[in-house]
Symmetry: C2
Subunit: 241 residues, 2 copies
């Protein structure tokens, strides 16, 4: 008999309701750039990252705990904040031993939705910490939901490609009967040797690079294991496990 | 300047709300098997197909107009009906000059959702009538939404592959900036020369073939232009345009 745990992929937060995640590890995926930035900050020694869904909340919480409030709206540092959503801002010199209070839209919303639906465990995933994510999922040996944060509920390919990358590494340890996962893995296999070359085809690339010149962010966000740490959610905070 | 109309792909009815379809032609896609069956019936001379969302409604309407009530639940002819949801049931001998009252779940629901959202024009699409669909979309020269009916709101690959097939044929006539469409076309291009060989990987294939032995249905549903007619929705009915 096949006793492997199940793995599914939700291509958008608007599809999360289709999955029972009460016994699952949910991987929050927001490749450009929230979950890459979370990996970067924790890898560089941040005490923790507190994900919040609004700028006022980021300011309020960061003041109360002497943290760094950060976030962007429409690709620029949000009004009232001094720091943005680039993984490259969070060098060790700057972030070590500090708490980052990060406001993002898509990733934070999916995380809170997963909490409300009673996820067993929540972690965040991105190419910069893909090995840590895969190792954790295999060790836990529980059901997995790969949750793509998308963009305002729309499907996006960079999150799907990361889901596919995870599947291609760990599929032998899971039961996978899910067209979303099959598609994600197929897309990843097709483009895995040239993610940067493929990137200009992504709708998100246009926003980040052509409008805001963030090509170095894109490179970081598409590079494996440059911030290889496991962000685990616990009582309102993502901490390095 | 680029004055081409826009084309988007909605991968599930649960994502339809993201698109403004008030000026769009919506293509309802339910490859296994509702929209293939609709094409088959109209191609073989049915007067029209009335899509309804329940068995009692199918019975009631068919009685009032002396039509053929048809539909399945869980892969078998539904209780109270004599005919199912196989495109092969609707030969010319049987269906010519008759009205088919067809109850399906996913396709009918998406059609009604599109109506409620004020779609400009609604047609149904499947591999058996792909050329008629593409010709119509190019002639109309309006915005297009390719609507995948999926399975109980879940993403499925056969509907996505059909969306990709349409995109690969008509993309030069449209503006397409949509990761869903890019993914659909990429998947189709990868598997276009062996759809039947790829089919066993689809979750739906298992239900239809391994449980119910409907391999001939699958073959029909994956064959181009074997029922090349354009089903156009008008006042509660799909009629051959």
């Amino acid at each position: 008999m096949n006793n492997k745990p199940e793995l599914h992929t939700a291509l958008s937060p608007a599809l999360l309701h289709l999955y029972d995640i009460s016994n699952s590890v949910v991987v929050i995926i927001d490749v450009f750039r929230a979950t890459s930035t979370i990996a970067s900050a924790l890898y560089n020694g941040a005490k923790c990252v507190i994900p919040v869904d609004s700028v006022p909340k980021a300011i309020e919480i960061s003041k109360s705990i002497d943290g760094i409030a950060a976030g962007e709206r429409d690709g620029r540092v949000a009004e009232g904040l001094l720091h943005g959503n680039s993984p490259l801002e969070y060098s060790r010199d700057f972030i070590e031993n500090k708490t980052l209070v990060l406001t993002t839209t898509n990733g934070t919303r999916l995380l809170h939705m997963s909490l409300e639906k009673g996820a067993d465990t929540i972690i965040s995933g991105s190419f910069p910490n893909i090995s840590a994510v895969c190792d954790f999922l295999i060790t836990e040996n529980k059901n997995v939901l790969l949750g793509c944060a998308g963009w305002k509920d729309r499907f996006n390919l960079e999150d799907t490609l990361f889901a596919g990358a995870v599947i291609s590494r760990i599929k032998n340890s899971f039961t996978i009967h899910c067209d979303s996962s099959l598609m994600a893995e197929t897309m990843f296999e097709k483009y895995k040797d040239g993610l940067m070359k493929f990137a200009p085809n992504l709708t998100h690339y246009h926003r980040l690079v052509e409008r805001f010149g963030l090509i170095d962010d894109i490179k970081f966000c598409l590079t494996n294991d440059v911030a290889n740490v496991l962000p685990l959610y616990h009582e309102g905070k993502l901490v390095a496990k």
